[in-house]
């Protein structure tokens, strides 16, 4: 356990030395764009906090090679990502998969805005029925009728 922490820390330092392919992987710009997208979607499982695009460790380079080979073999993006999750689990994906255990995660932002919006609407409708009597201000700033 401690070793893993040390490994992770070491990764953090080692991997600040850049992971760079020596040349664009594909001549075809569309393939290259797909490749760039894929390697930014896969987490470096050894280094944890970087994608395999940015990590310099051996495993990241091996995984990049694997992505290149799978792409050259004509696999689709989904198949390539499935290949990776079959071996490493969902953790390797930067974007979490959409499955029952992550429905809450994916729906949360919209739900939160909706709930917030409803709460705001309730408050506003209540407040708009009340008289707009003011509290006595201890100091009125006369030059700011409308602002701040």
């Amino acid at each position: 356990m401690r070793l893993l922490i040390l490994a992770a820390l070491l990764c953090a330092v080692v991997s600040s030395a850049l992971a760079i392919d020596t040349a664009p992987a594909f001549d075809d710009p569309a393939m290259q764009a797909r490749y760039d997208h894929l390697i930014h979607e896969l987490r470096c499982v050894q280094c944890r906090s970087q994608s395999i695009a940015d990590s310099n460790v051996g495993l990241a380079a091996d995984l990049r090679r694997q992505v290149r080979e799978l792409m050259a073999a004509g696999k689709s993006d989904r198949e390539i990502l499935e290949y990776m999750t079959d071996r490493y689990g969902d953790y390797i994906l930067y974007t979490p998969p959409v499955k029952p255990s992550t429905w809450l995660l994916w729906s949360a932002p919209v739900l939160l805005v909706l709930i917030g919006g409803i709460a705001a609407a309730i408050v506003i409708s209540r407040k708009s029925r009340l008289p707009a009597d003011d509290l006595v201000e201890e100091d009125r700033t006369h030059d700011d009728p409308g602002v701040s």
Partner: protein
């Protein structure tokens, strides 16, 4: 000897925090103003002794005293002197001492500025701050003392993590902590108000400058961290939605909501219990961040070495502090109701929406950060939530907020009629659309609907932020610091939005290999490697390549990226070469040596990236301007100053 003196000073500081808490709170409760004098002395004493403890630790670093475990773990005789001072807060124990020092500094500041406050309020605020200080000091003394000796002493230290050997280390953590810790002041005010059972516009007026000050330091701290990561980590990213970054961003979002909510409470006495809740939440999130980073609950490259024992202590502290405050809230908040109202379209409702969206964004980030831990605890598998999810999801509450900002800034209190500004806002929106689509596509090409909307929203906010200052100056009206600060801050936000959207939509990256004499083309520039040479630094050895960058035949920049190996930790590190202009960065980082003098390089073109940090600093500047508004510096005679014979009387209400 000096180290033991420092340790003793820390113990004294802890001991002084206790009477500060007791006499402050009890003095307020039992209407004994003279007890407050004791509390005041304790505040000063606590600051002196904490500073002394910190100075002793710094001394140990300065003289390379490797018989101190913390120094041996984080310093080295070859470490340049400047970094030796910064290394004091380079790891867990020292950074907590910095935390405590900053807390005692804020407490002293509150005391110094408390002459216009009723003594009971001051007493309670100082009392609460004393409790927090005591808890932290106890934590340091029992689980994380930086003064522990290492015997026999190490011959030399393990050196500071090379990633931290940078001038930014001297300033990023202090700024960040000043912000984090500063949020304890609104928290203390909130607890004080709840204890007293009274909350009014005056209270909001007292709290608001403190909230803004803490928030602006947090803004600067986060911006510095982002800037530092950008040039130090070598791959050109400026925000990674890393758990620790999120831990600092969440208090910032709530802090923003707080200063806006305080505006409503100050002006109209509304949203009182909501403002209380925000004050508590902001500090709770700051404490939560401290917990997350040091307990091992979440994994992050930023995290300090984790130790469940420390985790339990901080969690207990968090539970008592925040749990206590929330319990108070449940008890007292129902009485803080107001029967004033406002129209459906009014400044108040815009600010309400602002708050709702900011809180939604914060909750969403919290969920994303903790979800993997949540699933893992329920044995539902191990997932990771990375930047792609956060970036997309963050836009859901934020884009609407940006679009509401321009009209919201100009809405009047109680009922917005937009008499002066409706048409102008319309024209400015049109201008923003033209500039957003027209100018941007001419400069960079069109990218996507979302990025265009983002840029248009940002430009609209920028233009409309200028309405008030320009119109007032033209008419010769006074422009109060509050109004000016608000406009400046919103303008800064617009700069940030335009910068962030542009750089993420239009950046261009490529990896390639170059050998001396070779030229490559990327993003309209020519990159030529002119030479490779070895360089020796104070505690590292490096290979440096010289890259000449030209455009249309004219040289634009000469960069010197390095690949360093720090001698003590033998870890390799990239120092990127960056050419900075107001409208773009060119970023070159070295990868691996490929033989024959050839090197793999990552080249990046980053348009408008400087606006990201410039925008953040302008936001902070706006906050600073606000704080100096006249109304916060008034000497309104509230109650008689505390006199030795305790003549002032504040009867129970």
């Amino acid at each position: 000897m000096i180290v033991e003196l420092g340790h003793f000073a820390l113990i004294l500081a802890f001991c002084l925090a206790l009477p500060q808490a007791f006499f402050g709170l009890a003095g307020a409760k039992t209407h004994r103003p003279h007890w407050l004098l004791v509390a005041n002395r304790a505040v000063a004493g606590q600051f002196v002794f904490t500073a002394l403890a910190f100075a002793c630790l710094s001394w140990a670093f300065y003289v390379n005293d490797f018989s101190v475990l913390y120094v041996a773990q984080n310093s080295n005789s070859q470490l340049p002197t400047f970094y030796r001072f910064a290394a004091v807060w380079g790891a867990h124990e020292g950074s907590l001492l910095l935390w405590l020092l900053i807390l005692s500094g804020w407490t002293l500041a509150v005391l110094a500025c408390s002459r216009t406050l009723p003594y009971a309020m001051t007493g309670r605020v100082l009392g609460v701050l004393g409790l927090i200080s005591a808890g932290f000091a106890l934590f340091i003394l029992t689980t994380s003392s930086p003064f522990t000796r290492l015997l026999p002493a190490a011959l030399d230290g393990r050196d500071l993590n090379p990633l931290l050997q940078d001038p930014a280390l001297a300033i990023h953590p202090p700024m960040l902590y000043t912000g984090y810790v500063g949020l304890s002041v609104p928290f203390a005010f909130a607890v004080a108000a709840m204890l007293e059972g009274k909350l009014d516009s005056a209270w909001a007026r007292w709290v608001r400058p403190w909230a803004i000050m803490a928030w602006l330091f947090l803004t600067i701290g986060i911006a510095l961290g982002s800037w530092w990561a950008y040039y130090e980590l070598g791959w050109g990213g400026w925000w990674f939605w890393d758990s620790v970054e999120n831990a600092s961003f969440m208090p910032w979002l709530i802090g923003t909501a707080l200063i806006h909510s305080l505006a409503v409470t100050e002006k109209r006495g509304l949203f009182k219990s909501w403002t209380l809740l925000l004050s508590i939440t902001a500090f709770a999130l700051a404490l939560l961040g401290t917990f997350l980073v040091r307990s091992g609950v979440i994994e992050s490259v930023h995290a300090f070495a984790s130790d469940p024992k420390r985790g339990v202590f901080i969690l207990a502290f968090l539970a008592i502090c925040v749990g206590g405050a929330l319990g108070l809230y449940a008890w007292r908040a129902p009485r803080f109701r107001s029967n004033a109202g406002f129209a459906a379209i009014s400044r108040e409702s815009f600010l309400l929406l602002n708050n709702v969206l900011l809180v939604a964004a914060t909750a969403m980030i919290l969920l994303g950060t903790l979800y993997p831990v949540f699933l893992d605890a329920l044995d539902l598998g191990k997932i990771s939530v990375g930047a792609p999810w956060f970036t997309v999801m963050f836009l859901i509450p934020m884009l609407p907020m940006l679009l509401l900002l321009a009209p919201g800034m100009h809405a009047e209190w109680k009922k917005a009629s937009f008499t002066r500004t409706a048409r102008l806002l319309g024209w400015l929106l049109a201008a923003a659309i033209v500039a957003g689509i027209g100018v941007m596509s001419a400069a960079y090409g069109l990218h996507s609907v979302v990025s265009s909307v983002g840029i248009i929203a940002g430009l609209w906010v920028a233009f409309s932020a200028l309405i008030e200052p320009v119109s007032r100056l033209r008419k010769g009206h006074t422009l109060s610091a509050s109004v000016l600060g608000m406009c400046v801050a919103h303008f800064g936000l617009a700069m940030f939005v335009v910068g962030a959207t542009t750089v993420e939509s239009y950046k261009q990256e490529t990896d390639l290999s170059l050998r001396p004499g070779q030229t490559a083309h990327h993003a309209g520039f020519d990159f030529t490697m002119t030479q490779v040479r070895n360089v020796t630094g104070p505690n590292y050895d490096a290979v440096e390549t010289e890259i000449a960058i030209a455009r249309d035949g004219r040289q634009v920049a000469l960069l010197h990226p390095q690949k360093r190996t720090y001698r003590v930790q033998t870890s390799p590190m990239t120092e990127a070469g960056i050419d900075v202009r107001w409208n773009r960065d060119i970023f070159v980082a070295m990868g691996e040596a490929l033989g024959d003098g050839a090197w793999s390089l990552r080249l990046q073109y980053k348009p408008l990236i400087r606006f990201v940090w410039l925008g953040a600093f302008v936001i902070a500047l706006g906050g600073l301007i606000c704080v100096f508004d006249r109304r916060y510096r008034q000497r309104v005679p509230v109650e008689a100053a505390v006199t030795v014979d305790g003549a002032s009387g504040a009867r129970a209400r």
